[in-house]
């Protein structure tokens, strides 16, 4: 039964990974841009929530109403006036800029909040669960995370398919210069994409902070998990991202269970190995359309 429980918990954990991966997947899909500071931005959002809930004396859940818009605005501004300069056929400048930003965020957080672990306490909801059997209990909070991930991905899919701006996103992704000729301001599109990416990763960061303790240097691990979810699921496919997140989540919880029973491997390591297997067998990912 422990194994069934591990799989159930893994599926729920996958929701969080999918939420982390959404922004990465979208930014790559529309502008072939890989933001190496993605994980650190999630941690930054979690620290913002810590500060806001302390100064305003509110539940961390409520701070989401402040943190997410602030992060979205930050994403718009930084893309419009920063990252856009480094977009081009050569991926090197964008890698260097975002990697520099990642290291700056990590160390600024270290300087401001020290290396101590922090947590976001939202009260009893965090621990409430439905017990199916003695071994299998499903927490309401992980269910909420998975639900939010599904809603975000469905919403994004509908936005891309049926709105005017979503059409502009797809046109810019296919051919930016032709899209420009049709009157689309691609610089603005890129900035909106980054605003969405920052907003989703801020939600993910807050959920992470409620689920577990976090520190200033936890960002890269989250970037890596998000990236693995994107590659496992398939580049450029939002449903793939959800599937990839769930597969990675299950791999990690099953890996932890293997560690408990046989004292080999660990959760993250097992997840990395599953990622490498997918990369070797099916480099375009499970639902991917082509190679990145």
């Amino acid at each position: 039964m422990e194994w069934v429980n591990a799989i159930v918990q893994g599926i729920l954990l996958g929701g969080l990974f999918a939420l982390f991966a959404t922004g990465l997947s979208l930014a790559f899909g529309v502008m072939r841009f890989v933001n190496l500071a993605h994980g650190d931005l999630a941690i930054l959002a979690a620290f913002l929530a810590v500060s806001f809930s302390a100064t305003l004396e509110v539940n961390p859940f409520v701070t989401m109403a402040l943190v997410v818009p602030i992060m979205a605005l930050g994403g718009y501004v930084i893309q419009r006036f920063g990252f856009n300069w480094s977009i081009g056929t050569d991926p090197l400048p964008s890698i260097l800029v975002t990697f520099g930003l990642a290291v700056v965020i990590q160390n600024a957080l270290l300087e401001r909040y020290s290396a101590d672990s922090q947590g976001l306490d939202i009260g009893t909801f965090e621990t409430r669960s439905i017990e199916f059997t003695d071994d299998i209990a499903v927490g309401w909070f992980p269910v909420l995370i998975l639900g939010v991930a599904v809603v975000v991905l469905v919403g994004l899919q509908l936005f891309l398919s049926f709105t005017r701006m979503g059409r502009a996103f797809r046109a810019t992704a296919d051919d930016p210069s032709t899209a420009r000729l049709m009157g689309i301001n691609d610089r603005n599109i890129y900035a909106v994409v980054m605003a969405i990416a920052f907003a989703t990763v801020a939600v993910a960061g807050l959920f992470l902070g409620i689920r577990q303790t976090f520190g200033p240097t936890d960002g890269p691990a989250q970037l890596i998990f998000a990236f693995e979810a994107v590659v496992i699921g398939g580049l450029g496919s939002l449903w793939g991202t959800l599937l990839g997140g769930i597969i990675l989540g299950v791999a990690q919880t099953v890996g932890n269970q293997v560690d408990v029973e046989f004292n080999v491997l660990s959760g993250p390591l097992f997840g990395h190995l599953i990622f490498l297997v997918v990369l070797a067998v099916r480099p375009s990912g499970l639902l991917g359309r082509g190679r990145g």
Binding site: L36, S86, V97, F99, G100, V104, V231, H272, A280
Partner: protein, 355 residues
């Protein structure tokens, strides 16, 4: 077409090589005139950082392989050295090239995975592989990466402290000079021409029969070897390690990237400038570790946006000097007194230089 020849050297590259040679002689004799070690101790780290910087630049600046996983080769070098010297009883100086060899051999299967990804995803992919190696080292009962492990007196053999201090310095100097020489030699070879052709126009290079994957793989293995050797020497310098510090992305990759970006990606002189800039900033900051990264990372991020060719690129705009004879020029010939560059490593700056 008579009278044409391909020339790589320029007057300033001759001066540059003589100056570089003189500098190497001065640095090589340093243990005899810097008796209190006030220069020698910081220089060891600066020199092995130059070796790491040249190697990362060869990958990212010339071969189009932007790796954030260089710490895997350093870590392999460190643990290769530990296992051979501590467990295997190999002489530590013999173990250095052997540790490099281990890194080179392991780099081939790594390439089989990582080369399936491109650009930014290649960067994160190499990072994942390095992370896997760190975790495996930590969990392995033989490598015991979770504990602090050290080179003990016995495995350091009968070498006196003075011999070890000086030899580590000379080894670091050798790695830095050798690393620079490797880049110059690769760029002068057919391999270097293939890499630059692929970097400037991938489709064009492919259509002319350049095997890009092969050129990239050879470069990758060479870089793995030299970075692994550097890792072994780093352990000889510090004598103790954990998996966390041996496979540290900040120490062995982030700092190195910042140095190269500030100095100038895609040039041979850039990493040297970058390492010197790092040294100056580092001396000013002392122990303020977080601020060091904030300042260096900030400068690098801004530089990558506004001056993608770094300090060296800015110097080139001011005066196009070529200190290493790596750029091919068409010289001589009757009707072409000011010939165009061939296989130009910096197309933009050269164009500006001609104005």
């Amino acid at each position: 077409m008579k009278g044409y020849r391909i020339s790589r050297s320029t007057p300033e590259s001759t001066v540059g090589l003589i100056g570089f040679g003189a500098l190497v002689v001065v640095l090589g004799t340093l243990p005899w005139w810097d008796s209190d070690g006030s220069l020698q101790t910081p220089l060891v780290a600066i020199l092995y950082y130059l070796a790491l910087a040249q190697m990362w630049n060869l990958l990212a600046g010339f071969a189009g392989l932007v790796s954030i996983g260089q710490q895997m080769f350093v870590g392999i070098g460190v643990y290769g050295m530990l296992q051979m010297a501590e467990v295997g009883g190999v002489d530590p100086y013999v173990a250095i090239p052997l540790a490099g060899l281990v890194a080179a051999v392991l780099s081939v299967p790594v390439a089989a995975f990582a080369f399936r990804l491109r650009g930014g995803y290649f960067a994160i992919g190499t990072w994942v592989v390095a992370e896997v190696m760190r975790l495996l080292t930590t969990e392995s009962n033989d490598l015991r990466g979770g504990d602090v492990r050290a080179l003990t007196r016995e495995s350091l053999g009968g070498y006196s402290l003075e011999t070890r201090t000086n030899s580590v310095y000379w080894l670091a100097l050798g790695l830095a000079v050798g690393g620079t020489a490797i880049v110059v030699l690769v760029l002068r070879s057919r391999l270097g021409l293939a890499l630059r052709a692929a970097r400037d126009n991938e489709g064009g290079a492919r259509s002319l029969g350049v095997s890009i994957a092969r050129a990239q793989l050879i470069t990758w293995v060479v870089v793995a070897f030299w970075t692994g050797c550097t890792g072994a020497v780093i352990l000889l310098n510090t004598t103790s390690t954990t998996a966390g510090s041996a496979f540290s992305v900040t120490r062995w990759t982030a700092l190195v990237i910042f140095m190269v970006v500030i100095g100038g990606v895609g040039s041979t002189t850039g990493p040297i400038i970058g390492v010197l800039v790092y040294w100056i900033i580092d001396e000013q900051l002392g122990d303020a570790d977080a601020w060091r990264f904030i300042i260096l990372g900030g400068i690098a991020a801004v530089m990558a946006t506004v001056a993608p060719k770094g300090v060296y690129g800015l110097l080139q705009q001011w005066r196009p000097l070529q200190f290493f004879p790596v750029r091919r020029r068409l010289a001589g010939g009757p009707d072409n007194p000011s010939p165009p560059d061939v296989g130009d490593p910096e197309p933009q700056t050269a164009a500006e230089g001609e104005q």
